[in-house]
Subunit: 350 residues, 2 copies
């Protein structure tokens, strides 16, 4: 376990949850489900016992470094990496991979977004530990694939070759290909087949594997960060990162590596999982009243209302009457009332 | 005009406009229509040119004296009377009447609530001045009656004897009787008849007339305040008022005086008038967009929404989608969403 490292990617801005989420404090730093812990705190909690705290890394925007330090005091300050600008996931993963390789060339790394929700922590730990064991023993790149429970059109899919497992001990299979967010018809087809899994965006690999993959498939980005090896963990590091980061291509790790590399595996998992991308998905993750309303807040009173989600922090009084299928969210005086069926337009509204 | 006095009754708590109105700052102190002036400021403005500022009196709860001083700096501090507890309108009017009588026995007084809205100030001033002239010349008690424009069930009505006017110069008639808030059928009947007028709750009388009326029709209340004549305008006044006020019967001036007195007159007026008692009435007083939405706030954005009223102070961003016929009001994080057709239940909700 001492070689296990965790990378939490926490640079997103979460605009679909406005006004609860804002660019000043995006959703990964919010107690979105009202449990007392923010999504990034829940993410860290999920890996306790899998990765030692001194091996936890967070890559985030420079704007959010202080929030991360405040919310994750267990994470060493030197492991919180500050991006001067947004460049998608490939540069972020390349940067932290070179840092980890310098610290421990034998490291095995799990990379995760900061805004997922997995209620069954024990099941998650078992799958994550198994995948890390497999990645440490092989040169494989492993993804976590979630068994679909509905024909979701908001997720990407992984097509697995289920003909024989790639591990004697574990349910790990070769990946046949990655599929973009499908139409409803295609999603329904995927859901009927055992070969298609939701792409969780969680990756597991040994640090030497991913660094080599960057060298081969994304040499431009790789060389920028490899050249900085001498300055990592020195006072000059941030200045150099701030200098080279804007030069990086803005590209996801999926495009830069996953769709090009050969040895890609998937570990199917059947635990409940959501990337909490919409108010509708949030409503499903929160305890509902008998009329299927999900209320996050301490003083919310619903009358003649159904199938709605209401999110208002703290003890402020809220009275909702006569809504069916709406989201109502208030934060610091900013307010949204919107039909859940129209929530994909929220980004355009504000 | 030097004998003209104005009494603004400003002790209400405006619970029907929660959460915009609160017990800490009720509706008369709020810029409810978004014009830059609170209702009590608009009330004072309406009487400029009718009553000199040094003759303006405000009776309010002890809790609101500081707000009155802040919002009406033109009113002499000594004319702001502080009620230690709520006792309806009769004690309040009796108290201020004895105070005015001590200051000027020839005074003519107009008494008004603080939360009415009369957009046509000029028309209002003409009617008020005429009624004060009539009251000063006679022993009459004069009410302002508003010609109904709809069968409103939320107002009381005045039945006038229209057979001949009581003034040679003015449209002033004897009152046949006061009618409680009617059923819809009765309100429709009233609206068809020229004899029925909305009771505005605005009264005009000479100070000697009202003091005599209190002596005759409400001797218990009258004697309490008459006994205090020596202490008015002395340092002992507030202490004595705080002592006797709780002993007063809690009764409206309508029951205590108007329904018993003989010489009651009404001055019909046809200007637009509302007591701004409901969100529906507020919606009608504010500029509406082409979809009949009334928005009070600087940064409110409506999508697919109709016939609604949205009230959010300041520059906070508000997005409303897909509502028809609702009130949405936010103040200091407290929030109400309610069908306008159900707004009479708001008092029960919070």
């Amino acid at each position: 376990m001492d070689n296990n490292h965790l990378v939490i990617m926490a640079g997103g801005i979460g605009s679909r949850f406005w006004p609860i989420s804002s660019e000043q404090k995006p959703k990964q730093f919010l107690d979105l489900i009202g449990c007392g812990r923010s999504l990034i705190q829940l993410t860290l909690d999920r890996f306790k016992g899998v990765v030692p705290m001194e091996n936890v890394w967070v890559v985030t925007s420079a704007d959010y470094v202080d929030i991360v330090k405040e919310q994750l005091p267990e994470v060493p300050a030197g492991n919180i990496l500050s991006e001067p600008c947004r460049r998608n996931t490939a540069p972020c993963i390349c940067y932290v991979s070179w840092k980890i390789k310098k610290r421990n060339p034998k490291a095995c790394v799990v990379v995760t977004p900061a805004d997922h929700l997995v209620p069954d922590t024990e099941a998650f730990r078992k799958v994550a530990s198994g995948a890390m064991e497999f990645a440490a023993e092989t040169d494989g790149i492993v993804t976590l694939g979630i068994k679909p429970t509905r024909p979701e059109t908001g997720y990407g899919y992984i097509k697995a070759d289920m003909s024989y497992p790639s591990s004697r001990k574990l349910n790990i299979f070769r990946v046949d290909g990655f599929k973009e967010k499908p139409s409803l018809e295609v999603a329904q087809e995927y859901t009927r087949s055992p070969n298609y899994l939701w792409n969780s965006g969680i990756f597991i690999w040994s640090v030497s594997t991913i660094v080599n993959a960057f060298r081969v498939y994304s040499p431009g980005i790789s060389s920028l960060f490899e050249k900085l090896l001498p300055v990592y963990d020195t006072p000059a590091e941030q200045q150099e990162i701030d200098r080279i980061y804007p030069e990086c291509e803005s590209i996801s790790v999926d495009y830069a590596i996953m769709e090009k590399a050969e040895e890609i595996f998937v570990h199917p998992a059947s635990f409940a999982w959501t990337d909490l991308g919409t108010w509708t998905s949030l409503r499903e993750q929160v305890q509902q009243d008998q009329y299927h309303n999900a209320c996050i807040g301490d003083n919310i009173h619903m009358f003649d209302s159904y199938n709605s989600v209401v999110h208002v922090y703290g003890k402020k009084r809220v009275v909702i009457q006569g809504l069916d299928g709406y989201v109502v969210a208030e934060n610091d005086g900013e307010l949204l009332v919107c039909k859940l069926s129209e929530e994909q337009r929220i980004k355009l509204f504000h």
